[in-house]
């Protein structure tokens, strides 16, 4: 029975919980069984909170039994990226720096999840402090892609995407600074959304690049993602960049299944050279499906996008060098070399040497350089101006079309180790996902098939104007339904069986 339960959508689990055919405790246990059976190979989780999850699940079951009105997702399990604080539960951000740290407070995302009764199974693996595109930068070892265990599950949120693809959880939370929700979704055949900047509170989200960081919902279907979006989004006075506006109706949009008359722009600069042939094949098929559903496709040019990657790799490291200064070994986290003879500064230097991994150090140094006097205008200042140009490109494009689309990534999942010694090759993975972060708008990745040459999932990206996140759910839901009726089943159902231990 538990095999069948875990393959269901969150929406189906929600219906079964409401009808009483399954309990939240049974659901949680079915997923813990699955995690015990497959996570030795996948390594999606850094920490399992069995006790906390079962306590939450029991409370939900008791509320339902007492006839209390509960949220539709109450009792549905979720995997939480280890960059969000959860009171009393280890939060490492994939770094040695925070090994053993148990935060004394909940992030707002966690507060909202708990309020809705969503059961948090545990914390998922990630590139250290969310810097990376493969989850290989985790201090706790890489996560493996359930479609092919020798390949990367994307990053930084590779633990969350792998947990979904391996049926270890039906819902997950990711964070996206330059593609860390969408690229993992693309390479694992799952769905991930980066909401408009400010739609989901950053309170308790350990900062990497504050002007770009945004938490968002991940799942195996567009509807499940929409349901989770509505739970975590909303105004939060604890985050000064939180948008004070009502949350749009994402679930309603995902269920619309109608895009007749909509104008969809294909971004010329995010296609062609450098994109794998099979990625483009599936992308073009998805465009045909959108046309068949009544949308009009037009080509749109966004000339400044060619500078987006360079601007991002100045802005994000600059903010990193400032944000990560807080890891000074004084108030929390590890402390190295405090033998009574060394000064605070010496201890700080030794702690940061040991606590940070290679990629984090690389970005701190790059950011320190870009912000130094004499170089500020040439690097950080220029990058911020490019950011303005990219924003204007989007504004011009959205004057002509309702949403923009592109492949989510240039390639399917690459092999673990293939790019780990070449930072520039690694950064290129983010070429199509980065522009929306710089402009603060919303983006979704959903599966559009398997590349013919390697049989691995391909992601389709939908970008919507700021504060119009429901548009990507409307287009995504319609595309998903069209493709699934062509395939006869959802893409995630074609994933190879994992060895069960």
């Amino acid at each position: 029975m538990s095999e069948q339960i875990i393959h269901q959508t969150a929406a189906q689990m929600s219906a079964d919980l409401a009808s009483g055919s399954v309990t939240a405790v049974e659901l949680a246990n079915a997923h813990f069984d699955r995690i015990a059976a497959v996570d030795g190979d996948v390594h999606a989780f850094l920490h399992i909170d069995r006790e906390g999850a079962l306590a939450q699940a029991s409370a939900v079951d008791a509320s339902r039994k007492a006839g209390e009105k509960v949220h539709p997702l109450a009792g549905v399990p979720l995997a939480l990226k280890d960059v969000l604080t959860q009171k009393g539960v280890p939060t490492t951000c994939g770094s040695k720096m925070l090994e053993g740290w148990r935060p004394p407070y909940d992030s707002t995302v966690v507060t909202n999840l708990k309020k809705a009764g969503v059961v948090i199974l545990g914390k998922t693996n990630m590139d250290e402090f969310a810097m990376g595109s493969s989850t290989e930068n985790s201090a706790y070892g890489p996560t493996h892609n359930p479609w092919d265990l020798s390949r990367i599950p994307g990053g930084s949120g590779g633990g969350s995407s792998a947990a979904l693809a391996a049926f270890e959880a039906p819902l997950a939370i990711g964070t996206d600074t330059g593609g860390s929700i969408r690229q993992p979704a693309a390479v694992t055949g799952t769905v991930g959304v980066k909401p408009t900047y400010g739609a989901v509170s950053r309170y308790g989200l350990v900062a990497f690049s504050s002007s770009l960081d945004q938490a968002g919902p991940c799942a195996r279907t567009v509807l499940d993602t929409a349901m989770l979006h509505e739970v975590i989004a909303g105004y939060d006075p604890k985050d000064s960049t939180s948008i004070n506006a009502p949350v749009g109706k994402m679930v309603e949009a995902a269920k619309k299944l109608d895009i007749k008359g909509m104008k969809i722009g294909v971004v010329k600069e995010l296609s062609g050279d450098g994109y794998q042939a099979g990625v483009l094949t599936r992308f073009n098929e998805a465009l045909e499906a959108l046309v068949a559903a009544g949308a009009e496709i037009v080509e749109v040019s966004t000339p400044s996008f060619e500078y987006a990657l360079a601007a991002y790799y100045l802005i994000a490291p600059s903010e990193t060098s400032s944000n990560l200064a807080r890891f000074d070994s004084m108030r929390y986290g590890i402390r190295i070399g405090d033998d009574g003879s060394r000064s605070a500064e010496e201890v700080m230097n030794m702690t940061r040497e040991v606590g940070f991994g290679k990629e984090v150090k690389r970005r701190i140094i790059l950011g320190t350089y870009a912000l130094s006097s004499g170089y500020y205008d040439a690097y950080y200042g220029s990058a911020q101006k490019v950011r303005t140009l990219i924003k204007r490109d989007y504004e011009a494009a959205f004057a002509k079309v309702d949403v923009l689309v592109s492949p989510t990534c240039p390639t399917t999942a690459f092999k673990i180790g293939e790019k780990s010694d070449d930072p520039l090759a690694m950064y290129l993975n983010d070429v199509a996902t980065i522009p929306i972060n710089l402009a603060g708008i919303g983006g979704m990745s959903l599966p559009c098939g398997l590349a013919p040459e390697d049989g691995l999932p391909v992601g389709f990206q939908i970008m919507s104007p700021a504060l119009k996140d429901e548009l990507m759910y409307q287009v995504g839901g319609t595309l998903e339904a069209a493709l699934q009726s062509k395939w006869g089943k959802p893409l995630y159902a074609s994933a190879p069986e994992l060895a069960v231990k």
Binding site: G198, M330, R352, K361, K385, T388, L389, I441
Partner: protein, 98 residues
């Protein structure tokens, strides 16, 4: 000519309070050179009339009501401290011996 020297990287590491071995500095200096060459593409793209964007969704002077709300107890605030003494964070010496 290299955009950045090994000595400059060593200086940046000191500013960033990260101790680095000679091998690490050598490796990072060559990597930084490649990365800087790549990201320097942003220079000269935008004219002087283009304003910089620091936050995509612009907001100004965001305040919250000045009311007292519950906060962490001293016990909670100190729960992650590497070392403590009474209700305080205990840190290594900040001033010299003299």
């Amino acid at each position: 000519m290299a955009a950045i020297s090994r000595e400059e990287v060593a200086h940046l590491a000191r500013l960033a309070r990260i101790e680095m071995t000679d091998a690490e500095l050598d490796h990072l200096a060559s990597e930084m050179d490649l990365i800087l060459e790549s990201v320097s593409r942003v220079q000269g793209v935008a004219g002087a009339d283009i304003p910089p964007t620091s936050h995509a969704i612009a907001m100004q002077n965001v305040m919250r009501p000045d009311v007292v709300v519950p906060s962490l107890t001293p016990e909670e605030a100190l729960s992650g401290a590497p070392a403590r003494e009474e209700d305080r964070f205990k840190v290594p010496q900040i001033l010299g011996e003299e």
